[in-house]
Symmetry: C2
Subunit: 464 residues, 2 copies
């Protein structure tokens, strides 16, 4: 029995494992879920042990632990580092879920639960791939190191320090990432670039306490008016970001990339229909795909203040708050961007309120893999075999900080080889993972390792 037959014979069992994994509410951004983070790390470690991997370790960090393992007995073969994460986004708003976010449910050939697509489904694939080789051939065709972190949804806050501190142990020819989704369900694709991220949160405070709007209205500042004015000031009427200096260091889009993106099969109308949006909106002078993939953004992720319950409450609230994240392109530094946005907020803060800014710990720089990386070419070959048609290279605008982290700490580039799809509502209610992608992913990862095992390590050392 080969590795592929091994996983094909165990489809139901692998799905059950994913259901058990996705039942753990391992939300990394909210301290209330801390014990489930520990539970998820242990679950991952136990699956690695059962797969037959060696040196399985739950490594503490200043944040959530990193789970590592390896298998290093394929002499002369390339060494890859496989990346994934066991943490998930918060499930809010809970009332929008059709089934509870941590009670996975199969509907219509999809598994619904928070984190199944990002990244529990995709990251289970390499563990099962290793198990398949080790339980059938008793060995892997390549040398393998696994790094499964618990803070991706917090911008991989402590992964960089961990990888740097363990650089020797983690060194590899390149990184094969189980995170970093395909673009669309109808054709295979590989993510070759992503945007960076900068986050901050701020509050404005008017009077020292909530005030009756009849008694006090007209006399003093309303924190909600102030925050609306501030938020509205962040973009101009052409939907450009109005923060002074924001675009200064953003590298312009090269003509070749612009042409490549323009050549992709993409219907703006169909896209808008698919997400139920009445119109495309964004920075003037760029196409929708350019704005989403290649241009920086500043988005409000949350805003609040005053009375939100049913009926009327005639109050002037003392305070209002907002959360912002910016997506960054090459050239932009997260700390600089947070400083520029903070300056803008301070400069535009209306009279009568005080401003408090809390920079996020969530910064990361944009990343792109070199076009001619052999690990990328191999991924394209495998996708062609699995799907029977060529894959396309995409530059979706999400943020996966590991590209930069691994390049800087161990000099390795990252090939994104994930089998989630970008329409699977990760970071939103009703996240799902297509069961077909679980089959495709296992097939592709097994094939990738087989083909990679036929190469010599030297070829890849030169590439990174």
């Amino acid at each position: 029995m080969g590795a592929l037959e091994y996983v094909e014979a165990r489809r139901a069992e692998i799905l059950d494992e994913l259901i058990a994994f996705a039942s753990i509410p391992s939300v990394s951004t909210d301290p209330a879920y801390a014990k489930h983070i520990a539970e998820a790390a242990e679950w991952v470690a136990e699956r690695m042990r059962r797969a037959g991997l060696e040196h399985v370790t739950i490594n503490p960090t200043e944040g959530h632990p990193v789970v590592t393992a390896d298998w290093l007995h394929a002499k002369g073969a390339p060494t890859i580092l496989v990346y994934g994460h066991y943490d998930v986004q918060p499930p809010d708003p809970l009332d929008k879920w059709q089934s509870p976010p941590f009670q996975p449910q199969v509907r219509n050939h999809r598994l619904y639960a928070r984190g199944v697509s990002d990244d529990k489904g995709p990251m289970l694939i390499p563990i099962k791939t290793a198990e398949a080789f080790l339980k059938t051939a008793g060995k892997l065709p390549i040398n393998l190191k696994l790094v499964i972190e618990g803070e991706e949804e917090r911008g991989s806050a402590h992964l960089g320090a961990f990888v740097a501190a363990n650089a020797e142990r983690l060194r590899a020819d390149f990184v094969l990432s189980a995170d970093g989704a395909m673009w669309r369900p109808d054709e295979p694709s590989i993510t070759v670039a992503n945007r960076g991220l900068a986050a901050l949160e701020f509050t404005v405070t008017g009077a020292g306490k909530d005030l009756h709007s009849g008694r006090h209205g007209g006399g003093v500042a309303n924190a909600l008016h102030a925050i609306a004015t501030l938020v509205a000031s962040l973009h101009d009427d052409k939907n450009r970001i109005a923060v002074a200096g924001f675009y200064d260091k953003a590298k312009p889009i090269s003509n070749s990339v612009r042409q490549a993106v323009a050549a992709l099969p993409f219907s703006e109308e169909k896209y808008l229909q698919s997400i139920g949006a009445p119109a495309g909106v964004g920075e003037e002078g760029y196409t929708l795909l350019e704005r989403q993939w290649l241009r920086p953004t500043l988005e409000l992720n949350g805003m609040w203040g005053g009375y939100q319950g049913p009926g009327t409450k005639t109050v002037i609230p003392t305070t209002a708050g907002a959360k912002i994240t910016c997506r960054l392109v090459p050239g932009q530094e997260p700390d600089e961007i947070v400083a520029l946005v903070s300056d803008h907020l301070r400069k535009h803060c209306p009279t009568g309120v005080t401003l408090d800014i809390a920079p996020g710990d969530h910064g990361s720089i944009a990343y792109a893999i070199p076009d001619d990386h052999p690990g990328l070419a191999l991924a394209e070959r495998v996708l062609q075999e699995v799907y029977g048609k060529p894959s396309i290279r995409v530059r979706m605008g999400a943020t996966i900080p590991i590209g930069l982290i691994f390049r800087e700490a161990i000099g390795a580039e990252t090939v994104f080889f994930s089998f989630s799809t970008a329409d699977e509502d990760y970071h939103a209610p009703n996240e799902f993972f297509r069961l077909q992608r679980l089959d495709d992913g296992l097939k592709a990862w097994i094939r990738y390792w087989e083909l990679l095992g036929e190469r010599s390590a030297d070829e890849f050392l030169r590439a990174s």
Copy 2:
């Protein structure tokens, strides 16, 4: 024993009654509290029965019930209608309360609980006043009708219909209201005018669901940007309301009123200090008191959208919402104002989002009692006796719809004779009622009825 001795001998007992009353969470704006509304109405009726009042009735309406009672055996004496309300504002935000809002606590000669100042403390006073006369003299010096409603905090939505339908039964020479606070703790005052109210709520919706801000950011509208833009558009840079037509029908402030307000002892600096506000903010061209008492306002009372929990959630929220109330001055009609604000929102709604507007049921017109009303002169005489100094006439900007309701339904003007004080944080956390005001109020109401009983009904019939 006279009526005054009766209440003085029962101070502790009356406080215990108020504590029991304030323990009932009779929030009228949130259907979750419905059974406590019924409980509070029954509590009021029972206290009226014990006082010896007649025809005690809990009258159903299309909203919350109105509790009525009377005592009509003072032949030739004037007839007054006493008004109060047993409903309270929502207690949110709960985490700002030093003691739970519905577990009343005495601290520093004050009783802390939601609704003690607005209006449970003040409205208990006339019931205890009636009890004091009936238990000592066996009769009242005047003819009395009581109307205690349960929807004041919802703009007295069904009181108008109720009073109109029962006009014959409720007819009185004038209304003596237990609602309508004094201005400040350091001098006696009488509210002679108040502003009207218009309310609406609106939401903007972008895409059909929450979207990942990396994957989709830059492509489509963000509901939070859109709502901030809309809210910011409602005022201009001079803090004037920028809604076309908003001020058109607002009667200008008369010179005499302007001079009377300017003559009041008022330190803007001390006022701002007392509420912890860094600066006065409002419509250019008017003093702070003019803005609060005599000019219309448009205030946001709540705004929300996206992720509000700890940490970061990189989401573009599908929807955002806001609640608005406007305070109106003579000449402005609530329905017209709601229509003008709605037109403004529709006109300024950005591309890529849809707008839904829900007009509130909370409209009411501004009110002022005629300057020479004899019931007002009598109130001034009593306050002079109780406090040993003249009272001042104030026009605080809150909304008490009953002035218009009683004028229109039974042709009676309203004298506001409340013993709450406007700094007692009603509509905010840590609402309190000064225990001294309970003593003052009982004394004043007893004296008012005594003096009024010496007058003939004819004198007041001419006045209203």
